[in-house]
């Protein structure tokens, strides 16, 4: 037996490490939370890491999970050992092929970070809905409960599938296991080798397609033999459980870890037993141990091999003493009379019972419950709650645990304060940080240090919120002398150590709820130890005193600044943790932290190593214990999350989610169908900006560029009559409007939303006006936010209440006036300086009151629709975009469906108008039917007519009139927008996009092109330019970016444009106007600088300019309406490349890094990029210079 090396890693790495060693072809596609498995494989392959057979596995990125599984199928059929990794919707896309792979008895293992499915809402979090959807495919299903098991089962499943030829899904809980960092025993290569069945591999090779042994597989069969053929494979499935158990036994001999298909834990004479699978097993195991120690006769059946389901093994594992069983399913099948595993257990018991020789004289009572959907917490208290339910004389047959169901009353109560002895004995720490402050990486580092330098076991789990900017992270750490079996968050009153890395959290979260009696509270603050006490909220003071907490402060930002580390506080806070917790002797800890720093940066970051060392040394001197006074002195109460005048829905539900207390929301409070109000982002005041822009109204020429570039719609312009400013706050700024063409006496104000601005500085960057005597002063300038927060907040309130100017009088084709239109997309949680959001904001300014949005999954669906709030909002008339996200892959089709529906219902409405014409008045009917709605005024007039129609319908009582009432809104023009990123448009959704382009329907497709999969972490897409580094293209993308515009132009009838708002704002504006006005498919490909480019987004506008000047990003418009007029439809809006590509490439890490890792390739790619840019220009120029062709007419000859 080999004792492996102890390492700390997460579940994804554990799975990938075995998959990599035991496979030759790995086909991947990113999807949370499984992306990391593919990334690890890609990274290892790029590093030349070898598999068991001494080759570097081929890692291929595909265009979708459907593509990945197709490639795996092909690789398997051609004799390679092949695997893939996926989750959720990705697994659903694999299902068709999984039937094939299983039907052909092909050995493979798919490793799944099991995740919820998108239904009423998308969720990236863990449960078993995805794997449960594959039950019918014929794949075996093997479940892992912990990071250690992930590594073990990855190997066991690989061995078993090879032996048994039945393919396997190896799954573990998304995030909870895939992302939990844990100290585990690594499987030595010799063990992996020993588990690989040589003969079976040889057999797999021999079954491969080969022209030397030609066969036909994949026939099409008729009624005569299909059925029998289907039955022919039964023996393989029948044998599979035995084979898996054999491999488990073999594995036990090699490692000492014995697994069973169904593993029973608990009293041999237990009367109450819980059955479940996945990470919840560990929680239940810990709880059962505790209950046993306290004299209760309970047990737990861990289901490992779920398919093929071996009823015999299942029942054999259950003690005959069992009287009541609760089966917990981490899934939901709406409308079924029980979840799948519950039914499997009942079937097993009843079949056994019906045999007449069953194990049970009387059938045990079996109840079924759902738990843990989308990573809902599953704690020992809940396990205890289920056992308590089983103790009742008449337990609920169907139940849920972990939520409060006040609607259908299925939920069980549980004791939230219940703790196991095991849990009580572990050391626990909780850290609150910002995503950007490095708290998570510091904690991962601490776990590594403790895990690898001491005998202690360590566990880390990290909770992120979904915001891209200002995201909050909570780190939950456990350390123990015994292996840790607690896959749930650290509970209230449990943490011996609470670290708050951001002082702003003091006013937002009740962090000390987590602190244990006698624990430690560490606060990063600029205030000194003797100043801090009086500034704490009252509740916090009370908790510090009542819980007798030791309280420490450190000014980590000061230390970081002085050590030259800018705002990096991770090593400083880490040093504090070690210094206070005493988990390692202080000197040793510091030595280890320094060692870790050195290992992290190595030769590549020697200056950073020095700076970190300085910071570490300075930290101890700056860490002070606060002499806690005996009395509560504070009167500060945490401010209300939302003001009293917020809408009821926001007060009752949204605010609770904002406070991070959504766990407490009962079922009845939630919408049944996933429908939420828009306009909610305004209630979440995030106060991210240290500095915000301040308008110099005297200098300003009112050009509107600041509004145009704002990624968060946090600066707005409005015009109004002077009397509208009556009662304005004292500091509210407004000046006479300079533009001509309006009635006289109008005033204009540019107003910043001080608590919503993220401080990206792009408005200042865009401002073209400088003070003549001091060119560093512009018409808009950054200034510290805190003193402005209250006065500007009041000004903002006032500004938003001023009546919007009449849209029909504004010229949407000119920026100064277009920017007076109010956006209905505001304060998205996108990255500071995001390059995508200005395009969406612009669309809503121009068309928001009539927009339907189909949004592909990705960044734009996350900042667009991730709860608690949405940036999509309403105008003063209550109109605004209606938004929905279907899937990643079907967005174009989804949007097309919207268009077709609108067209169809418009026809219906028109037919009703015709039918009711005499009753509503012929003039009105004619007006409604012949309305020209190609501008704001036309739309306004039609809305007036529709209002008149409603008025007229009031007096008519007929079914047609009632239908007309419902349909009337379709008489007003609707603007359908299909929005998504390049991952969607160029890759997974390209087929659909292409099909929609091939139709003639009036849809507006906006591709927010970041040239990489941004949301899942920067994977290469077909939009990624040559020479760029991306995940899955670590050695630089060797091929050119797909020219989507060219492909679309080829249709001839599609309006196509490429825009970059930071390079040519007017062209962007015109494009949006033209695209929307075109009565057919329009495609706008919008250059969107992204943090994944490796450049600070403060340079967003500069990067766009460079992209255009170098020819990297052509600006063009192709308008089929011109063809109809006999003109050339193509117009180039950029000049011949005038800047060397190198100047652009050297400013972005995605390109420049390649010069350090692959200088020769990088040079060649750069040369190609420059050449391509010039050639593309030349080619486009020739096309654009061609004279127009005479349009087709009746006289046009056929040949």
């Amino acid at each position: 037996m080999t004792t492996g090396q102890m390492v700390t890693m997460d579940g994804n790495e554990a799975a990938a490490s075995i998959a990599y060693l035991t496979n030759e072809v790995i086909a991947i596609y990113p999807i949370t939370p499984s992306s990391n498995m593919g990334e690890h494989s890609d990274e290892w392959a790029a590093n030349g890491k070898l598999n068991l057979w001494g080759t570097v596995p081929e890692v291929v990125e595909m265009q979708s999970e459907g593509g990945a599984v197709g490639a795996v199928h092909g690789a398997l059929q051609s004799g390679a050992l092949s695997t893939t990794f996926t989750a959720s919707q990705g697994l659903l896309l694999m299902i068709p092929n999984m039937y094939k792979i299983a039907g052909e008895l092909t050995p493979t293992v798919f490793h799944i970070a099991a995740r919820a499915l998108a239904s009423h809402a998308l969720s990236i979090f863990g449960d078993h809905q995805d794997v449960m959807s594959t039950r019918a495919t014929g794949f075996s299903m093997l479940s892992s409960c912990s990071v250690q098991e992930v590594m073990d089962m990855a190997l066991i499943s690989q061995a078993a599938t090879l032996e048994g030829q039945v393919p396997m899904l190896h799954f573990f809980d998304g995030f909870r296991t895939s992302h939990e960092v844990s100290k585990i025993e690594k499987l030595d290569n010799s063990i992996v080798q020993a588990m690989m069945p040589e003969a079976a591999i040889a057999k797999h090779r021999l079954r491969a397609m080969s022209p030397d042994r030609p066969v036909l597989r994949g026939t099409s069969q008729n009624p005569d033999v299909y059925f029998q053929s289907k039955e022919r494979s039964n023996p393989y499935f029948d044998a599979m459980p035995g084979i898996v158990q054999e491999q488990m036994d073999k594995f036990a001999k090699l490692t000492g870890r014995q697994y069973k298909l169904f593993q029973y834990v608990g009293a041999p004479d237990a009367e109450r037993v819980i059955v479940l699978m996945g990470s919840g097993c560990d929680t239940a195991h810990e709880t059962v141990d505790h209950m046993l120690a306290h004299g209760e006769k309970v047990g737990l059946l861990k289901v490992r091999l779920y398919r093929p389901f071996s009823a015999a093994d299942c029942l054999a594992a259950l003690p005959t003493s069992v009287k009541k069983i609760a089966v917990l399913d981490r899934t939901k099948e709406p409308g079924s009379d029980g979840e799948p595993m519950y039914k499997d257990i009942i079937t097993a018991l009843t079949q056994d019972f019906m045999s007449g020789q069953g194990r049970y004289a009387q059938l045990p009572l079996v109840i079924g419950g759902r738990y843990g959907l989308a990573s809902k917490e599953f704690t020992p208290g809940m396990v205890k709650g289920v056992f308590d339910e089983l103790s009742k004389a008449n337990p609920k047959r169907q139940f849920t645990i972990g939520i409060k169901d006040d609607l259908t009353h299925l939920s069980l109560d549980w004791d939230a304060t219940f703790r196991t002895d095991e849990e009580a004995a572990t050391m626990k720490a909780v850290f609150y940080g910002l995503g950007s402050d490095g708290t998570v990486s510091a904690n991962k580092n601490s776990i590594k240090i403790i895990g690898e330098e001491t005998d202690l076991y360590a566990q880390g789990y990290f909770v992120y919120d979904s915001k891209k900017a200002g995201a909050i992270t909570t780190s939950h750490l456990r350390f123990s002398e015994k292996p840790i079996r607690s896959p749930y968050l650290v509970g209230e009153n449990d943490a011996q150590f609470v670290g708050c890395h951001q002082p702003i959290f003091l006013e937002r979260y009740d962090m000390l709820d987590m602190a244990k009696q006698g624990g430690v509270f560490l606060l990063n603050t600029a205030l000194s130890a003797d100043q801090i006490w009086d500034t704490l909220p009252r509740r916090m003071q009370v908790q510090i005193l009542e819980k007798n907490l030791s309280f420490y402060v450190v000014d980590a930002y000061k230390v970081a600044r002085e050590a030259g580390m800018g705002n990096r506080i991770n090593t400083i806070m880490q040093t504090c943790f070690f210094a206070i917790s005493g988990i390692l002797p202080r000197e040793q800890a510091i030595e280890k932290i320094k060692y870790a720093v050195e290992k992290t940066y190595g030769r590549k970051g020697r200056k950073l190593v020095e700076m970190n060392f300085t910071a570490i040394d300075m930290t101890i001197a700056n860490l002070h214990q606060v002499a806690v006074p005996a009395l509560v002195t504070s009167t500060l109460e945490r401010p209300a999350t939302v003001p009293a005048h917020a809408p009821e829905f926001v007060r009752n539900l949204t605010a609770i989610m904002m406070e991070d207390r959504g766990e407490r929301v009962p079922v009845s409070l939630l919408p049944a169908d996933g429908t939420y109000p828009t306009g909610t982002a305004q209630w979440e005041k995030r106060n991210l900006a240290l500095e915000i822009p301040v308008w110099d109204e005297k200098l300003c020429t009112q050009c509107g560029k600041c509004v145009f570039v704002c990624p968060h719609s946090a600066i707005r312009a409005k015009i109004f009559s002077a009397d509208a400013a009556n009662g304005a706050p004292e500091t509210f700024k407004y000046v006479p409007l300079r533009s001509k063409g309006y009635e006289s006496g109008l005033q204009i104000s540019y107003q910043v939303a001080p608590e919503d601005c993220t401080g990206c500085t792009l408005c200042v960057e865009a401002c073209p006006i400088r003070d003549k005597s001091n060119t560093s002063h512009k018409a808009i300038n950054m200034a510290p936010q805190p003193p402005l927060r209250t006065p500007e907040g009041e000004n903002w309130e006032f500004f938003t209440k001023i009546k919007d100017y009449d849209r029909t009088k504004l010229n949407p084709a000119a920026i100064p006036s277009a920017m007076l239109m109010q956006p209905t997309f505001e304060f998205p949680s996108a990255c500071v300086g995001c390059g995508e959001t200005p395009y969406i904001r612009l669309a809503t300014q121009l068309f928001g009151d009539r927009m339907l949005v189909a949004n592909a999954t990705g960044c734009s669906s996350i900042y667009g629709g991730n709860l608690p709030v949405t940036p999509y909002s309403k105008d003063q008339n209550g109109r605004g975009p209606a938004w929905n996200n279907s899937l990643f892959e079907d967005n174009a089709e989804f949007g097309l469906g919207m268009r077709v529906a609108c067209d169809s219902l418009e026809s219906y409405a028109k037919s009703l108008v015709k039918r009711l014409a005499s009753q509503i008045g012929d003039d009105l009917a004619t007006g409604l039917l012949t309305a020209v709605q190609d501008n704001e005024a036309g739309i306004y007039e039609q809305r007036e007519r529709v209002a008149a129609l409603h008025e007229a319908l009031k007096g008519i009582d007929s079914s047609e009139a009632r239908a007309m009432t419902d349909m009337a809104e379709y008489l007003v023009k609707r603007s359908v927008w299909i929005i998504g990123g390049d991952g969607w448009a160029y890759d997974i959704g390209y087929g659909g996009l292409d099909h929609v382009l091939a139709q003639t329907r009036n849809v507006n497709i906006l591709v927010l092109d970041t040239e990489v999969y941004s949301n899942t972490g920067g994977q290469n897409s077909k939009s990624t330019p040559v020479g760029a580094i991306a995940k899955f293209a670590a050695a630089g993308k060797p091929t050119h970016k797909k020219d989507l515009a060219k492909l679309a132009m080829d249709y001839g009838h599609v309006y196509v444009a490429q825009v970059a708002y930071g390079a040519k704002d007017v062209q962007t504006l015109r494009t949006f106007m033209e695209a929307e006005s075109y009565d057919g498919p329009s495609l706008i490909i919008a250059y969107s600088p992204c943090i994944a480019h490796g450049v600070d987004l403060a340079y967003n506008l500069r990067q766009q300019e460079m992209a255009v000047k170098t020819g990297h990003w052509p600006l063009l418009r192709f308008d089929p309406r011109k063809t109809e007029k006999g003109e050339n439809p193509l117009k180039l809006d950029y000049s011949a490349p005038s800047m060397p590509m190198q100047e652009f490439y050297s400013t972005e890490a995605r390109f420049s890094m390649l010069f350090r890792s692959h200088p020769e390739d990088a040079k060649r790619f750069l040369q190609e990029a420059g050449y391509n840019a010039r050639e593309r220009f030349r080619h486009y120029k020739e096309l654009a210079d061609l004279p127009g062709s005479a349009p087709i007419s009746a006289d046009t000859p056929e040949s």
């Binding site: 990334e39 995940k1031 670590a1034």
Partner: protein, 337 residues
């Protein structure tokens, strides 16, 4: 046969033409072309302190510690194992250049702070540099720093570097020292093996279109030579360290004048960029022909013969020449008037 050899930083060079740190000393190909054209040594392009730091910070921000903090992505780039830092890339290039050339290679360090980056000198030495040029590219625009503080910065950096290396070190100086001779003496005392005069600072310019600043550096012209010539002439013979003239050397006459003033070597950069490496051969031919015509035997013979020390008109290099220039706005008869 004219003996063009010269001694610089203790190295014997076959002639006084040494291409200075610039674009042509980046690639192996162009360095080879410089050697083939007759260069007696090369100064490699500079290893910039800020560039190293900037790159490390970039690496930290985007790769090592991206700290994105959202659940779906914790990074955007995976570091490639082949990734080399700017320092490693420089060292590798230095080794390659050294291995492919037979002439000495002078490596160049460019930076201004006492943060310890000069310690990299040791690695440059290990990579094969025959000597080092320390370019303290420091614009003294800090109102709190006295002239003495500025000088101390140079001296301290030099001392610090000398602790790490045993190969010769030359200091590249700016022209803006209050008392250059006194300062050079200090450098000599601190261990400098040579000085190179003068650095050219990027001069910001104003773009009237954008009302912004531009900072592109242009090529030099021979006009910039005179200030260098003066100070070489002043320093020659009064200090033992080597003297290099850099900036404005384009023609045979430029080279000769600098040698006559006392330069041990003359650096070339703009001239090479404008006319290609072949310029070196033309200059060498021209210098030889001139010397032959004048019956000079060797560079050693003419070096410094018109320095302040040896000049028949020593005041020409000092303040009085200014007065004379003002007084007699007539064509000069002597070389310096």
């Amino acid at each position: 046969m004219i003996d063009l050899s010269t001694s610089y930083l203790g190295l014997t060079l076959k002639n006084p033409l040494v291409p200075s740190a610039g674009p042509l000393t980046r690639s192996l190909d162009s360095v080879k072309r410089l050697e083939d054209a007759g260069a007696s040594a090369v100064v490699m392009y500079s290893l910039f302190e800020e560039e190293l730091l900037k790159e490390e910070r970039m690496l930290d921000r985007f790769i090592t510690n991206p700290s994105l903090g959202h659940g779906e992505a914790d990074s955007f780039f995976t570091p490639h194992p082949n990734y080399k830092s700017g320092l490693d890339a420089y060292l590798e290039q230095l080794s390659k250049i050294k291995a492919s050339l037979s002439i000495p290679v002078i490596a160049s360090l460019n930076g201004v702070t006492a943060s310890g980056w000069v310690a990299h000198g040791k690695e440059l030495q290990a990579a094969g540099a025959d000597a080092l040029e320390l370019n303290v590219y420091y614009v003294a625009a800090d109102f709190n720093q006295s002239a003495a503080d500025v000088e101390a910065r140079y001296v301290n950096l030099l001392k610090s570097l000398k602790q790490h290396v045993s190969i010769p070190v030359t200091m590249k100086l700016s022209s803006q020292f209050t008392s250059l001779p006194h300062f050079v003496k200090q450098l000599e005392a601190a261990g400098a093996d040579g000085v190179s005069v003068f650095n050219r600072f990027y001069q910001p310019d104003i773009d009237l279109e954008t009302l912004g600043l531009t900072d592109k550096i242009g090529v030099t012209s021979s006009k910039e030579l005179l200030i260098r010539m003066r100070w070489i002439a002043v320093l020659f013979g009064k200090v033992k360290l080597s003297l290099a003239a850099t900036g404005g050397v384009h023609t045979r006459d430029d080279v000769l004048k600098l040698l006559l003033a006392g330069a041990d070597v003359t650096h070339l950069c703009s001239g090479l960029l404008l006319q290609g490496p072949e310029l070196i051969g033309q200059l060498l031919d021209g210098v030889s022909a001139w010397m032959e015509r004048r019956e000079y035997e060797s560079v050693a013979q003419l070096k410094g013969s018109l320095s302040q020390q040896h000049s028949s008109d020593p005041v020409a290099f000092a303040r009085e020449s200014y007065i004379r220039v003002l007084d007699s706005y007539t064509p000069v008869t002597k070389a310096w008037q």
